[in-house]
Symmetry: C2
Subunit: 328 residues, 2 copies
């Protein structure tokens, strides 16, 4: 409920820059916690960089509800490590060769080592979380991790399933993506000892933002450009992951026969044709609309918390996602 000047996405990250720097250093330093034989692998995947969105959300939620403490930095590190662990396993599922323009762990060392590497990172992240003296924090982190894995299972299980409903889709992405966004915001506030309504508002903010973010990411995989994203696009279609635009098109009943035939062709899916059809049927636009609505709902949650520069930083992240969506 603020009339204060909004800030930009870049300014939001600047606000927490020293802390993010510490997070980055800490992430890179984690390799040393492993057996020397394992260190190199961990170092590779932890040093690959990334947007560090989850740490940013944890730190901004911290600042929005109090002082950013060492505990918040720990939280940021742990959530990012869990995220990295899931990416490592994701790349196995998808047979992805590249991750941020570098060879993926599975491309470099094969699936066997990579399965175990993900496990190691995962176990290590949860081990770090036991340093919180309050076991509620530790439990909430383990809950989020279990949710991410469950979401990934359901997604894998439902590949090439034309009966997947939009409700199923939302449930999957809420688990696999929004769970960590939500934990970042909720626990950021919890560690600041914010009041339950504030913690609740930030948790909901994180969930809605996370779902919107995944919808954006899914649109990007369909209609983005490879130069921009640094990853192979169209992967979802080839792997039978039917995302929101596709599901909305199927739901609309338009050209359903053609679409179904296209979707079930696995590695031979004609992505360009499909994207053209999604575009002309308005399915991309409809998916964008859902994401916009979620961003609005996320922003409305922030009206429940006191305004300060960090709260404006959270707004900036949500608004930035909106502006990224505009381009489609």
């Amino acid at each position: 409920m603020t009339s204060a000047e909004p800030i930009s996405f870049a300014q939001a990250f600047e606000l927490i820059n020293p802390h993010l720097y510490t997070v980055e250093e800490r992430i890179r330093a984690q390799a040393k916690a492993f057996d020397p034989a394992v260190e190199g692998y961990v170092s590779y995947v932890c040093g690959a960089g990334g947007k560090r969105l989850r740490p940013a959300l944890a730190l901004l939620s911290a600042g929005a509800t109090g002082k950013i403490t060492a505990g918040h930095v720990d939280l940021a590190v742990i959530l990012e490590l869990i995220h990295i662990a899931t990416l490592v396993h994701d790349d196995i599922m998808d047979g992805a060769e590249l991750r941020r323009d570098q060879p993926s762990a599975n491309a470099k060392w094969g699936n066997a080592i990579t399965v175990l590497l993900g496990d190691c990172l995962f176990a290590h992240a949860l081990r770090l979380s036991t340093n919180f003296s309050n076991s509620d924090i530790c439990r909430r982190i383990a809950d989020a991790a279990a949710e991410v894995c469950s979401g990934e299972i359901v997604q894998t299980q439902r590949r090439f399933d034309l009966k997947l409903s939009t409700a199923d889709y939302y449930r999957i992405i809420e688990m696999k993506t929004a769970a960590l966004f939500s934990a970042a915001c909720e626990l950021g506030a919890f560690i600041s000892e914010a009041s339950p309504p504030v913690i609740g508002a930030l948790k909901t903010f994180g969930t809605k933002l996370g779902v919107a973010y995944q919808i954006y990411d899914d649109i990007l995989d369909l209609a983005g450009s490879e130069e921009e994203t640094g990853k192979t696009l169209g992967t979802d279609l080839r792997k039978g992951k039917f995302t929101l635009p596709v599901l909305l098109m199927l739901q609309s009943g338009k050209d359903v026969g053609t679409i179904r035939d296209l979707l079930l062709k696995e590695d031979k899916v004609d992505g360009e044709l499909l994207v053209a059809m999604l575009g002309s049927a308005g399915a991309l636009k409809a998916a964008k609309g859902v994401a916009f609505r979620l961003i609005e709902e996320a922003l409305a949650q922030l009206d429940e918390i006191q305004d300060n520069k960090y709260a404006r930083g959270l707004r900036a992240i949500a608004s930035h996602l909106g502006s990224l969506l505009e381009r489609f």
Copy 2:
């Protein structure tokens, strides 16, 4: 230290039977903690049975140091879930088709679902461990889990590596197998609030027993019979896991050229010939000797703790392993 009548392996399990029954029920009930879409998978792997050695060690260590409480049962459930998670991922590494005479998870659902299923179980086990109000317990469990994964990575990394030393081998099996045995015994005593020397003695007992057990299991894979074990034997050789008898033979310098050639043939290893050579060179016997010595050292640790029927149960488990080894 005790002149009391030793008890048998079967009697040791009988002592803790009601608690083991609860553990079994609890393990089977865990599936319900997951998303309905995931429940069936968890239920399959958790319902497959098993020797439940880790729960038995936790419960006997509990009884040896005090009263068996609900916390000990929780510990037993958590450690067994971590063990199940690692088996699920192991079967992917090994391309194993069977686990306890049933199709393995990867044979049933493919590697993608199975990677995620292992992750889910793992995250869930660590989530359960956050219910201990003492975060030391939770941390010790996460440590053990991370150690198991690190051990598995090193093992995978060193496949077909003829330079693997016996020291490397001991380090690998101490991490991948003994870590959970050790945590079971140590935490069983810790939850009973035993004195630090008693906790330390049980921890060392668990480590030594775990290493001995893995040596036995490795001998079994070389020289056991399939009817007896319900699993495909010779897997280690085909997968390039050089275990103690093989390493001792290489170390002895006898027939090294022939052995090396045999070992590097991957799926075409002539297991029968190799086992005959290991036998005649005395390498199987030497490996047995190492395991016996470890069992003696493990038993000596129990002299540090007060005798009661549960302590005798721990002795019975170690002695039983010795008698299993006798047959080779």
